[in-house]
Symmetry: C2
Subunit: 228 residues, 2 copies
Amino acid sequence: MVNKTANPPRREDSLTRDRIIEAAIALLDDSGEAGLTFRALSVRLATGPGAIYWHIADKSDLLTAACDAVVARTLAPAAAGATPEAAIRAIALGLFDAIDAHPWVGSALMRAPEQLPLVRIVERIGQQLQALEVPDDDQWTAGSALSSYILGVSGQNAANAHMARQQGLDRTVFLHEVAMTWSQLDPGEYPYTRRIAARLPHHDDRVDFLAGIDLILGGLDAKRRRAR
Amino acid sequence: MVNKTANPPRREDSLTRDRIIEAAIALLDDSGEAGLTFRALSVRLATGPGAIYWHIADKSDLLTAACDAVVARTLAPAAAGATPEAAIRAIALGLFDAIDAHPWVGSALMRAPEQLPLVRIVERIGQQLQALEVPDDDQWTAGSALSSYILGVSGQNAANAHMARQQGLDRTVFLHEVAMTWSQLDPGEYPYTRRIAARLPHHDDRVDFLAGIDLILGGLDAKRRRAR
DNA sequence: ACCTGAACACCGTTCAAGT
DNA sequence: ACCTGAACACCGTTCAAGT
């Protein structure tokens, strides 16, 4: 074991991994994944691009770390006392709102399933499935279904918001334009899409999102009843 | 209306949008999203980078078009005669395999929910929900749940495969390494993840994937029974 | 109408040199 | 131990000039 000296006292504003990650989050929130640049980051931190590499391995490391910071914060408040179902709904809604606020988190989570940020999510959901007394064999399936659903719907909601903002449009106006495009698709090939297009701008995302969670939980419950 | 002349006869090897898209797919399959470069593409097509811009708006247009070509091919065989549930399973499994073969499709689909490739998927699933006589109000929820689940699980499966290949490892060896890392997480904080780590390398992805589809379909069925 | 390829304004990353 | 900033090997995209 290397005899490492204890951390020396730091200047208040010295460069640290945490300060870099916070600056990265701010940059990502401001201008999306394209806005995260080692040059922009070094300007914001009043340093050179090379300095960042002393604390961060590379860009992918930085993005994962930023993602993990957001996820960890979101999952921090433990849902105490509530039923497992309510806890799952709370976890899901917390992530939905976090991804809505930080759209880049959605796509970042999707890329490296074995990394810590997603493991945190799977763990939290898994604990609740355990509390629900879901049989061991079904926990993996139910956990995958729930986490994929959460990431998928939240990510798509955030992508819509991001797209709207990028075009300088209000979210509702943007959805109206999408609905317009969809309603002009070929009637023979796209009957379903044309029909739901009208609903698109009016639906309440969070309500519909929770309805999907309940659908999966309902499937789990039905399966358990059948097994009895 | 502009009086446009009919398409003139083409040289066999002239540059067309379709030829560019096929070359892009080959490049993406070979070396992932990072491998798709206008320079590499122009070398493959024996032309200059500028020529591509005559047929393609920009890189995002190219990626969406490549994605759409793969999705359209995958959804092409219409599941005739089968029950709606079986049709949904067939659609899901087809996409799972397509995303496994073309890992970049997963992340590409996630980014622009309003674009044609995802609309194709939603339409196909929606038609089967209609055939299942799912009430109008539930079709959106069920469609979102199914499509998010399909894209999420397929995308994560493909990301694992991609990660393994990148590290020059066999898929199973890679999953064993992930399982090892997970089983060394803090026991107080990650009890669930530690427990399922052991199952990770042995599970059959396609079987587990279909089990999740059935879970969602089961939830839909349970909800219908309750409404009666 | 379609293609060429140099040029522009960027990237991530490295590394000798400093403190 | 940590930081600087020039340099390298790339990008996507544009555009005058060609056919």
